[in-house]
């Protein structure tokens, strides 16, 4: 049964959305579970949600189906974890934010700006020798943008990690039993 390491180069990309109680130590417990099972996390982002008592962890990882099921079950055993879904990539909106510092001087700045316009992303800082570009989008768009900018020389790059929600009117937190987690 056990397939280790859980992440191999050909594993499928999965996006896990985990609703947790908003309290210290939760992320350490979750990250520990991933680390112990040889999960190579592709990206991880944690932030508050529409409910102040709940935070949402979005994890993307390239991982085989069997270890993924095991880790979802293990995550469910953590008392601070309220709800986990493996988001279906076709039925969810996924975005990440990237800041890219590109080496661009007066000779090629206009070329870079042309790409910026094409991708409908924004320039947030200009310097005689660089441009810093803010881009949001799904993974494919970001990868395509980076592929084009690579030729100019990427000086610095930072990505936020993916966040994702399902399409349609429903919230994941609707499935959390009980109302506001208060009284602590």
């Amino acid at each position: 049964m056990a397939i280790y390491p859980a992440s191999t180069p050909h594993s499928e990309r999965h996006t896990l959305s985990v609703l947790v109680e908003n309290r210290p130590g939760v992320l350490a417990r979750i990250a520990g579970l991933f680390a112990r099972r040889a999960f190579n996390i592709n990206s991880l982002s944690v932030s508050p949600t529409e409910r102040p008592d709940i935070s949402r962890v979005t994890v993307t990882a390239d991982v085989e189906q069997v270890p993924l099921e095991q880790i979802i079950k293990q995550l469910n055993k953590l008392l601070h974890v309220l709800k986990i879904v493996d988001l279906d990539n076709t039925d969810a909106v996924q975005r990440e934010l990237v800041l890219i510092k590109v080496a661009a001087n007066e000779t090629n700045r206009s070329d870079v700006l042309e790409i910026v316009r094409l991708f409908r992303v924004r320039v947030v800082d200009v310097h005689p020798e660089s441009l810093t570009i803010e881009a949001t989008g799904d993974e494919g768009k970001i990868d395509a943008l980076l592929g084009l900018l690579d030729d100019f020389g990427v000086i610095e790059l930072v990505r936020s990690g993916a966040v994702a929600v399902t399409r349609g009117p429903h919230a994941l937190s609707e499935k959390v039993v009980g109302s506001e987690i208060t009284g602590r």
Partner: protein, 646 residues
């Protein structure tokens, strides 16, 4: 919203501003330490194990003569933890420990991990430095919650006195419900000395904790269908059935379906060994019949068992022809090591009650398959390959297996048996006749040497509490395992826990030596501990008889069968103090049967050179990949595993 201060970043309180002081108007005013003691009393805790220290002193200051629980002072925090485990297994209640911060808490990590592996309900209360000192490397500070993350069911850091009763009530509830396990409550000195308002009962706030106990109907019907279609069923019963107190249900299921029962190490005794359906333990050192039955079955019903590698051997070759029904309260266990055909999540006792009812209904309509050929096969294994050993040894010392059998013969049927970890543990599980559930306490999953003596003390405290001390406690330990926690003899004597201790003294680390013999060319690297040599010129450190004497206990040495019989008789008669018997046993005795680590259970070696499941005449169903055996087959196979292990 107020930005979190560093202090809040470490606290168990959410990073929100305090709404009001309304919680401070109800209840009786007291300190956190007083509240802690009061909470334990209100939870009905009757016995607590531990050792005091600086960071937990305010709590210890509140333990008085009129405190409603008994405090058992151990000599090492690890001992306190194992004692609480032994107490929990013997009584079925939650074991509670109170220890100090830093080294006190780190000493508890082993028992916490042990309890986690064996699903023992445990609440560990540790002191922590004041909140102002957290993160400063203050004296005796350790990140206890951080250290124990991977080996606890849940953990708390308490920074506010007002939280103490609720957190302890939650911890106690979490430890004993669902799949039982250890819960750590790390309480800062700030919370211990702070003022709070005590009220009881407390409302538990556990939105993310909803263990499933009741089974779904349709999986039960599928399981019944499998029973109806199977001609070689086996019930593979594990420690989860013991925790759920499901002995009667397991027996009913076995009787209804005519299935043989094989157990894991922790589940020994769940159905009395005198029951003809019980084949004993399976796996690495299980009985031949049990291991063979599991290998050749067509329906494997795992009941509160988790397919540990010591049970399954090479996983892909375990019970290759079987369809699997897996009953477990922990969904994460299902499909972890083997994908079941019918997964049933729920409390074992509840599931079996429902399943038995469903089976009766099904059998009323469809009848049940005849299992006569299956039982003929099983009985032929039992007759041909019983538990066997040499009663005489080449050097004239006692046979350790004989000692275990003699202990079992002379013991009261109500005896609670405890063991350390090693060869003696396997012999104890193989050769003792267990007649009662909850009468076998041993470290299974973690295999913690030194578990025995403190666990026996805990079991004796539990026996005194629940059974008026009428259940005697026998510890079977090895000379190596015993020395890991032998300081607890002091606790056993001073706290009046008259345990009976049988040390199978072969003056070596026997199990390791067995592996060195079989897999490491008899290179006995660092396994001789020379505490029980028979020759005069070799040192005898420690002299266990003198050691017992030094701790106020009775020490007896036995080197012959007559001495051994007399010593056991005498030990059974002494009930006012601990008794230790130093049995001098043969150092090269080995545990058989054996499956080498990582090998298929089909390679099980009954005795050196005898591998019954590899011969086609012993059974009508043989796995396809079986190889014919040459004379040195077992040795050669065994050698292959040497590189893979340790």
């Amino acid at each position: 919203m107020v930005s979190p201060t560093p202090l809040q970043a470490f606290s168990a309180v959410p990073k929100a501003p305090k709404t009001s002081k309304q919680t401070l108007v109800d209840g009786e005013k007291m300190t956190g330490a007083q509240a802690l003691i009061r909470t334990l009393e209100d939870l009905g805790v009757q016995d607590v194990f531990g050792i005091p220290g600086g960071a937990i002193l305010p709590v210890y200051h509140q333990i008085h003569d009129d405190t409603k629980f008994r405090f058992v002072l151990m000599r090492h925090e690890q001992g306190a933890g194992h004692a609480a485990e032994g107490y929990a297994v013997a009584t079925g209640r939650v074991g509670v420990c109170i220890v100090t911060s830093g080294p006190g808490a780190t000493n508890m990590v082993t028992p916490i991990a042990d309890a986690n592996m064996d699903s023992v309900p445990l609440v560990v209360i540790s002191g922590q430095v004041g909140v102002d000192s957290i993160g400063t490397d203050a004296f005796q500070e350790a990140d206890t919650v951080g250290i124990t993350y991977p080996v606890v069911k849940h953990s708390y850091l308490v920074t506010d006195a007002q939280d103490i009763p609720r957190v302890l009530a939650e911890a106690h509830y979490i430890a004993r419900t669902g799949r039982p396990g250890p819960v750590v409550v790390d309480i800062t000195k700030t919370a211990q000395v702070g003022d709070m308002y005590y009220s009881w009962p407390q409302k538990l706030l556990l939105p993310g904790y909803n263990p499933t106990t009741k089974p779904h109907g349709h999986v039960l019907r599928e399981a019944v269908k499998l029973f109806e279609q199977s001609y070689r069923p086996v019930l593979y019963v594990g420690g989860g059935a013991v925790r759920s107190n499901a002995g009667a249900q397991v027996k009913e299921l076995a009787d209804l379906t005519d299935s043989p029962i094989v157990t894991t190490l922790p589940a020994r005794g769940i159905v009395p060994d005198s029951d003809p359906k019980v084949l004993g333990m399976l796996g690495m050192h299980g009985t031949l019949a049990a291991t063979a039955a599991a290998q050749k079955c067509d329906l494997l019903v795992a009941i509160g068992a988790r397919f540990d590698d010591r049970v399954t051997g090479k996983m892909e070759a375990f019970a290759p022809a079987a369809r699997v029904v897996h009953i477990d309260i922990d969904p994460a266990e299902i499909g972890k090591r083997r994908q079941p055909d019918v997964p049933i999540v729920g409390d074992v006792a509840e599931v079996l009650n429902a399943l038995n009812a469903e089976i009766k209904r099904g059998q009323a309509i469809h009848g049940k398959p005849s299992l006569k050929p299956w039982w003929n096969l099983i009985n032929s294994w039992r007759e041909k390959y019983p538990m066997k050993y040499d009663e005489t040894t080449p050097d004239g010392t006692l046979s350790p297996q004989w000692v275990v059998e003699e202990l079992s013969r002379q013991a009261s049927p109500s005896t609670i048996w405890v063991s350390g970890v090693g060869q003696h543990q396997m012999w104890a599980s193989q050769l003792i006749d267990f007649e009662n559930p909850h009468s076998w306490i041993s470290s299974g999953g973690l295999g913690t040497m030194g578990f025995g003596l403190p666990a026996a003390i805990g079991a004796r405290v539990g026996s005194a509490r629940d059974f008026g001390g009428k259940k005697p406690v026998w510890l079977i330990d090895g000379d190596g395992s015993f020395q890991m926690t032998s300081e607890e003899l002091a606790a056993a004597f001073v706290d009046n826990a008259p345990v009976k201790i049988a040390i199978l003294n072969n003056s070596v680390y026997g199990m390791v030596r067995q592996w060195q013999t079989l897999f490491y060319d008899k290179h006995y690297s660092q396994t001789s501990i020379q505490d029980g040599e028979n020759t005069e010129d070799i040192i005898n450190v420690p002299d266990f008889v003198k050691l017992a004497d030094a701790y106020g206990c009775v020490g007896i040495r036995a080197t012959t069968q007559d001495e051994a019989k007399a010593a056991i008789k005498r030990a059974n008669e002494i009930n006012d103090r601990p008794v230790l018997i130093d049995f001098r046993v043969y150092k090269d005795a080995m545990v058989w049967p054996m499956v080498a680590a990582g090998q298929s259970n089909d390679t099980v070696t009954y005795m050196p050179g005898v591998q019954p499941l590899l011969h086609h005449d012993s059974t009508d169903h043989i796995a396809d990949d079986d190889q014919p055996q040459d004379d040195n087959g077992s040795e050669a196979k065994a050698d292959n595993t040497a590189t893979a292990e340790n």
